[in-house]
Amino acid sequence: MHLGDKVQFIERIKLIIKVSFASISEVNKIQMEIEKLKHIASQVRRDIVRMVAAVNSGHPGGSLGCADFLTLLYFDILKHDPENFTMDGKDEDLFFLSNGHISPVWYSVLSRSGYFPVSDLATFRKLSSKLQGHPSTDKKLPGIRMASGSLGQGLSVGIGAAQAKKLNNDHSYVFTLHGDGELQEGQIWEAAMYAAAQKVDNIIAVIDFNGRQIDGDVDDVLSLGDLEGKWKAFGWMVLKMDGHNFLDMKNTITKAQSLCGEGKPVVIIMKTEMGMGVDYMMGTHKWHGSAPNTEQLELALNQLEETLGDY
């Protein structure tokens, strides 16, 4: 067992003990919170497939795969102020989406958590919309601090923002999200080397480890090899989590936050299923960047409960 696995194993045992000793009402409370998050995530998935189907373009696969994580992040983890968005985000946790093509999930979660009206989701990828195909800042969509789309740039940006926080004595966290295919970009590893060398320990990078990219399985296109070993060799603390298990994610991210401030950056390798929630989109790379047609949309929506009202 690797050290990281051991740490996670011990944490899980601790959690089980904690939960065992917790009162029934506390257990119920956790369960209720998870149910609430599942509820939101179901609506987010509906938003995603409806958004991409409406303009017959966009990236549903990775968006569906990250719906649970981003729902948890925005509705439970982040210290933020959706109604009063500022570019500087002083004393707030910051999130940067490095794999900008999964913009549908981000836009949905941003609007559902209060950054902008849910009705704006209907403008996705349309002329003059703030909801560009890939996230941008120039049309001033609240919640977005950096354009992304050309891959590999978000880790550097997140580390820079984390260092600015240190200079400002701002003790909040910076989160970044990256595709696993994106890790083929060299800039990621420039940034990884830098963060460890400069002891940037207020950043938590999350890898969407779904094993698929446009041309096929990551292993076939360009294998990442020993990904955990690579991050460790670059001087990062590595955690793993199941991107579709809210309790596991919550505990792992809490653990990651507790590891901050110890002189090392933290990365979480998050196992996900591309297309999660829509059966025919799972188990394939086919839906990375193509939209469902009318019949396929119907099929998808039948599998996703409308919990908060469609936009």
Partner: protein
């Protein structure tokens, strides 16, 4: 022709170093990043005086641009330092997406630009950077003329909100701009007033143009000389005012003819006032090893070329 007072001889990169050091003392938000060229960029003083605000990123320029973009979130004003080649061509996409498109307040400071880098040869002598940077929406492009102006420009861009490309170089050249002359972005300096030909130059070619104007004045030709230190936004008013008087123009720059100052000036003339224009610039060619002055002669961007171009422009008036 009037005499220019000379305030010594220095390289423009040292002007950057002094300006940055001064900013370090007076602007708490200024931070600096360097990709393993601290000595070459003359960033040592800033580094020594502000160890917490200086970030050594190693030989990883793409990461440096991303870090700088990220540091603006939270109010920092990052100055990145490396050679012009590695400040632009190597990191064009990082600048495009994370800085220009994202409207980040990053100051991209680029030394050793053009042929005057000298002996290192064509791999390092970028002659396309002005073109690349002026094509980017939101980008301001500044090419100061001497040590004093580079120092003042370095200080001035801290107060300008938005991405800036600041280009300077390595050779020791005469200092002819008075110390502490305030630098105004987008406002050209008229160095000489004349009636026969307008010379519009930037960077090291401004001094070469002063030399050329002296030779021309001995031939009885009077030169209107503009130091176009800001390539973008371009001072169109200064160009049109001068050209209306002289009826012809020579542009002079240490850059490729494609994409440079001359092309920017030509756009203004074509749309407003058609007059003959001659270009003193490198003509679709890479450089090579040699001393800076040898290279300027060989590649046609020396004093003599400005004189010849002026005579040709004047001849084309009729």
């Amino acid at each position: 022709m009037k005499d220019f007072e000379i305030f010594g001889n220095k390289d423009t990169r040292s002007g950057f170093g002094e300006g940055l050091a001064e900013l370090g003392r007076k602007n708490d938000n200024v931070v600096a990043l360097c990709a393993d060229l601290t000595g070459s960029l003359k960033m040592d003083t800033f580094q020594k005086e502000n160890p917490d605000k200086f970030f050594q990123v190693g030989i990883a320029e793409a990461n440096m641009m991303g870090l700088a973009a990220g540091m603006t979130i939270g109010g920092k004003i990052p100055y990145t330092g490396t050679f012009a080649n590695f400040s632009t061509g190597r990191v064009y996409d990082q600048i495009r997406q994370s800085i220009a498109y994202s409207q980040k307040n990053v100051k991209i400071c680029a030394s050793h630009a053009g042929l005057t880098l000298g002996e290192d040869g064509a791999t390092h002598q970028i002659l396309e950077d002005i073109g690349m940077m002026r094509m980017l929406p939101n980008m301001t492009v500044i090419v100061p003329a001497d040590f004093n102006q580079t120092k003042q420009a370095t200080i001035a861009i801290a107060d300008h909100v938005g991405p800036v490309y600041l280009r300077f170089g390595r050779p020791v050249m005469p200092i002819f701009i008075k110390p502490d002359t305030p630098f105004i972005i987008g406002k050209a300096d008229v160095l000489l007033e004349g009636s026969d030909v307008t010379i519009i130059a930037c960077g090291h070619l401004v001094w070469k143009s002063i030399e050329a104007a002296r030779i021309l004045s001995e031939k009885g030709i009077s030169v209107d000389l503009i130091n176009m230190h800001t390539i973008k936004p371009l001072d169109e008013e200064a160009i049109l005012k001068s050209v209306a008087k002289t009826g012809c123009v020579v542009t002079a720059e240490e850059h490729m003819k494609n994409g440079g100052l001359g092309e920017a000036v030509a756009q203004v003339l074509v749309q407003n006032l058609l007059v003959p224009q001659e270009f003193v610039a490198v003509n679709d060619s890479f450089g090579e090893s040699g001393t800076p002055m040898e290279l300027m002669t060989k590649y046609g961007i020396d004093t003599a070329n400005i004189v010849d171009a002026s005579l040709k422009a004047i001849a084309r008036k009729n």
